[in-house]
Amino acid sequence: MALTNPRVTKSRLAYLDYKLLITVLGLTIIGLLLIYSADHSQNIKSHFTKQIYFSFIGITALITASIIPPRIYNATAYAAYGIGILSLLFVIIAGIIGLGAKRWLIIGGVNVQPSEPVKLAYILVLSVVLSRRRSTVSIVKLLRTIALLGVPPTLLVLMQPDLGTATIFPVITAVMLAWFGLPLKVFALFLLPCISLFLTVYPWFISPLLAFGFVVIYRSGIKWLGITAIAVVCAVATFTAPLAWNQLEEYQQKRLTSFLNPAADPLGSGYQIIQSKVAIGSGGFSGQGFLKGTQTQLRFLPEQHTDFIFALAGEEFGFLGTSIIIILFLLFGWSGYTLATHSKNQFMSFVAIGITSMILYHAVVNIGMVIGILPVTGLPLPFLSYGGSFLLTCFTGTGILISVGLYRRER
């Protein structure tokens, strides 16, 4: 129908978001340069060539995803989500073990990490739920539905175990609920038990926060019975936190805490962070120069083509390089949020906010880790880190954003 009308087609192309395209291409090219440099330190080219293939496949995926109209995503969201959950189950049963975790499936001779596309499927299905909401449906029912959808992928990814990726689902949920406009007191209800998880670790910092939260709940009109119930939940969270911590593998515990004091174990758990900070700091304003960073080229910087690629950028391209990357991510976020705001369709708005926030969350957590202010969680840097599954997910996500942009005038 739409395609038969040449006028409509033309006006749709006029809504193509070039800003988004240029940002993504810019980041990808920077990423390729950095991976080339990382390969150079080992006298290989394999990661660089593979990433070029992935980029072409990714661009194809982006174009394909941008052609598909949003209503198709809406219609197939549940199916995609179902397939995603099944593939995660399959990973638990028959995944490949690598780096102390089961994260990959072999499909046609290629290692695939299903947890990456599941992020997109989850965003789509959450957007469907939030956009279908009628004013007659109570918030409790809505939250119950979201919990039913959100808990399975989170748990399945935790079981791999992949702590970093597992945090994405609650974070995306929270961000999209915020966009939805969930009342502050309901947020407080969820946040209070989360905060009380850390009560035993930082008692003097957490207790006033908790007290403040309870005051907010009381003021919003919740009865004493409700408050008691929340208090019980908080108490349970407080005492289960240490138990849950003990359930973590030792390497996970170390990764989570070593960023606070990497010098305590400079040759062990603190090594990555120290070397990464040294790489970034020694870059200075304009960097050591392409292929000239000593931390990178002498391989002191670990995981330089994947998780710590930002440190490579910092060393060889300096503050100029890191600033450009940050500005490109800001541009990406700005475009995505603008799309979300200008979409007439509620589903498209939620999709845009979800995908944009997912990419930005990855970027913030990754850069925060590399510069030593956040724990080492192993989240890759979108468009820059080497890795096919994640790159394809990011390109597809961008394709969906562009599709949203093309169709944003339609209800």
Binding site: S135, A178, W179, G181, P183, L267, I274, Q275, K277, V278, A279, I280, G281, S282, G283, G284, F285, T294, Q295, L298, R299, F300, G314, G318, F319, T322, S323, I326, F329, L330, G333, W334, Y337, T338, A340, T341, I353, S357, L360, A363, V364, I367, G368, I371, I373
Partner: protein, 619 residues
């Protein structure tokens, strides 16, 4: 109401989200700004520490020559096997491999590698002087076993092993903290000349700056910072005459003892021998615990340098010092005589003279020549401890000589305080005094002190003995000379003349205790001695200098359990003197023996007396 709120939110959420994003990325950017622009120098320094490793280039150790430029210590090429603890920690298979090649226990290997801890990039010594077959094998397979490296190094080699107590030995640097070594792995002087002149011999290490990657492999040798070249150690030229030292070694044979010879004019030490000794090459290569045990448990104590650490009662060789005290203090003049009946009764004890029948009338010359004990008992009783101590100190007894060797001992010259401490105040008797006066009992001296004392008698000045003549910088030939120093004895010419004459008569006049060793062409002045040894046979001593006029050499010989100075120690000294003087004046040599008419005429009477006495024994 909910809808109203929602409308507000719908209008403002874009702003809130964008602001949140800007704040988060702003924090990251701010942190990057501080890391990359403000605290950058710290990180840059850490990056440099990461990649630049300094390798110390060991300097060549200085060589040691004797007075005739004969090489006493040279540097022979050898290969040393080192291990890199940090790399081997990651490749434990290397340990098993090394154990099989070096034929050692794995634990031994582990101990050697980890001796400075395992988290270090500094190499630790595994085995020095690696045999060639093992070297060749290791070289072919070392690619498969990371953490092994070889260095081409100079090994100390000793063509004159009998100089071992002079040269000392080298060994591994020992420290409680590997950082204090600053990466140095070369050997260091542990005793003798090797340790005394360590600062000169050791040279100055050079530095090579290498760039390494994360796995510790060297990627390039850097020009910036520029490498520092190692400066070789200075060569040392000793006063020792290695030929004479070897001759003395042969003369002593398998006997235990010590020979010290020096030039009395300037203190140049010609011979400094202590036997038994040890093989210095044992310390230069691989010292196994078994070898070390064998050396330190040897009943002959080969590590003891008897020339400077062996303490012996000087016996009759001490008598010149006592006579000097008596002459200088005015107790003895030309008319002084003691009649010897073969002993002296002191309280309840009979103090024997070595000659049972007695010496009869004894004057100052005869006392020395025939070594009459009764004469000296009398002097000792007259002088007392304090006066004897004073003149002993003048001759250098009881003090360090200042020789350029480590661990020299002072010996003991009894003082009132010493005797009070040892026997209780006032509890020591005239008996002790008598014993001291013939050099027995509490008196203890080293062979070196005896030699210096003899030299002092011959020249009238106390020289500081010097092993080293000069140090020479091998690069520019700069010379650092060790100057001769001496101190005048401040004794009267008459006193010295009497003592010298007594010593001359010991060897050259009938009745002297070493008369049987008289030489037709060299006039030697000497003194025999027997040092009583409570643990077995007496020690034999002989001190001598020659020629009497313008003395060129002073010798002290101590032979443990040699019984008589005259029969066992004196021949060694005499042969040594002959060899030295013949070498000193090759070809038609002067006769070092003046005609009898040139003898001292002033004391002619007493001399005639002495000459009439014929002894049947020697002391």
């Amino acid at each position: 109401m909910l809808d109203q709120k929602n409308r507000w939110w719908t209008e403002h959420r874009y702003l809130v989200f964008t602001a949140g994003m800007v704040v988060l990325f702003g924090l990251l950017g701010f942190r990057l700004l501080s890391m990359q622009l403000i605290i950058r120098p710290d990180f840059l320094e850490m990056a440099t520490t990461n990649r630049i490793r300094t390798e110390v280039i060991e300097p060549t150790r200085g060589r040691i020559y004797d007075r005739h430029n004969r090489l006493l210590v040279e540097n022979r090429p050898s290969h040393t096997l080192y291990a890199l603890p940090w790399t081997i920690k990651a490749n434990p298979a290397t340990i098993t491999f090394l154990a099989s090649v070096l034929e050692l226990e794995e634990n031994d290997i582990r101990q050697r590698i980890g001796s400075h801890g395992w988290n270090t990039f500094y190499p630790t010594t595994l085995q020095r002087d690696l045999p060639f077959d093992k070297l060749a094998y290791l070289e072919t397979v070392r690619v498969d076993y990371p953490g092994i490296l070889f260095r081409f190094e100079a090994k100390r080699s000793y063509p004159y092993p009998e100089t071992v107590h002079i040269l000392g030995y080298v060994g591994e640097r020992s420290t409680d903290n590997v950082r204090k070594l600053h990466g140095r792995i070369g050997l260091v002087g542990k005793s003798g000349i090797e340790i005394i002149y360590e600062k000169w011999l050791g040279g100055e290490p050079g530095v090579l700056y290498q760039q390494v990657d994360a796995s510790g492999r060297i990627t390039e040798i850097l020009d910036d910072p520029p490498p520092v070249e190692a400066k070789p150690g200075w060569d040392i030229y000793l006063n020792i005459d290695a030929g004479l030292q070897r001759y003395a070694y042969e003369l002593l044979g398998d006997r235990t003892g010590s020979v010290v010879a020096l030039n009395p004019q300037n203190g140049e030490l010609l011979v400094l021998l202590s036997l038994p000794d040890y093989d210095p090459s044992l310390f230069a290569g691989v010292m196994t615990p078994e070898t070390w045990e064998a050396i330190i448990n040897d009943p002959g104590h080969p590590l003891l340098n008897r020339a400077i650490q062996g303490l012996y009662p000087p016996g009759s060789t001490f008598k010149m010092a006592v006579l000097t005290a008596a002459i200088e203090e005015g107790f003895v003049n030309n008319d002084f005589q003691v009649t010897c009946y073969g002993g002296l009764q002191l309280g309840r004890r009979w103090f024997k003279c070595w000659k049972k029948g007695g010496h009869g009338k004894v004057n100052q010359y005869k006392a020395i020549q025939q070594s009459c004990d009764v004469f000296f008992y009398n002097l000792g009783l007259m002088l007392g401890v304090e006066r004897m101590e004073k003149y002993c100190n003048v001759f250098g007894f009881g003090k360090l000589s200042g020789i350029d060797l480590d661990n020299e001992l002072t010996g003991i010259i009894p003082s009132v305080k010493y005797l009070d401490n040892k026997y209780g105040t006032g509890k020591w008797t005239r008996g002790q005094l008598a014993n001291i006066s013939i050099g027995q009992g509490d008196v203890l001296v080293t062979p070196l002190q005896l030699a210096i004392y003899t030299a002092a008698i011959s020249t009238g000045k106390l020289v500081k003995p010097r092993l080293t003549d000069k140090l020479v910088n091998p690069i520019d030939g700069e010379v650092h000379k060790i100057e001769a120093t001496s101190k005048d004895l401040k004794l009267s010419a008459k006193c010295l003349r009497i003592i010298r004459e007594g010593m001359r008569m010991v060897v050259n006049e009938s009745g002297g205790t070493a008369y049987w060793l008289r030489q037709h062409d060299i006039e030697i002045a000497g003194k025999t001695g027997t040092s009583q040894n409570p643990h077995g046979e007496d020690h034999a001593l002989f001190v001598a200098y020659a020629p009497v006029e313008n003395p060129q050499i002073a010798v002290a010989v101590v032979i443990e359990h040699g019984e008589h100075g005259s029969t066992s120690a004196a021949p060694v000294a005499v042969k040594l003197i002959k060899r030295y003087l013949y070498d000193l004046f090759p070809g038609p040599r002067p006769v070092f023996k003046p005609k009898p008419v040139e003898l001292a005429k002033t004391d002619q009477d007493s001399l005639q007396d002495t000459l009439r006495v014929v002894t049947d024994g020697v002391d």
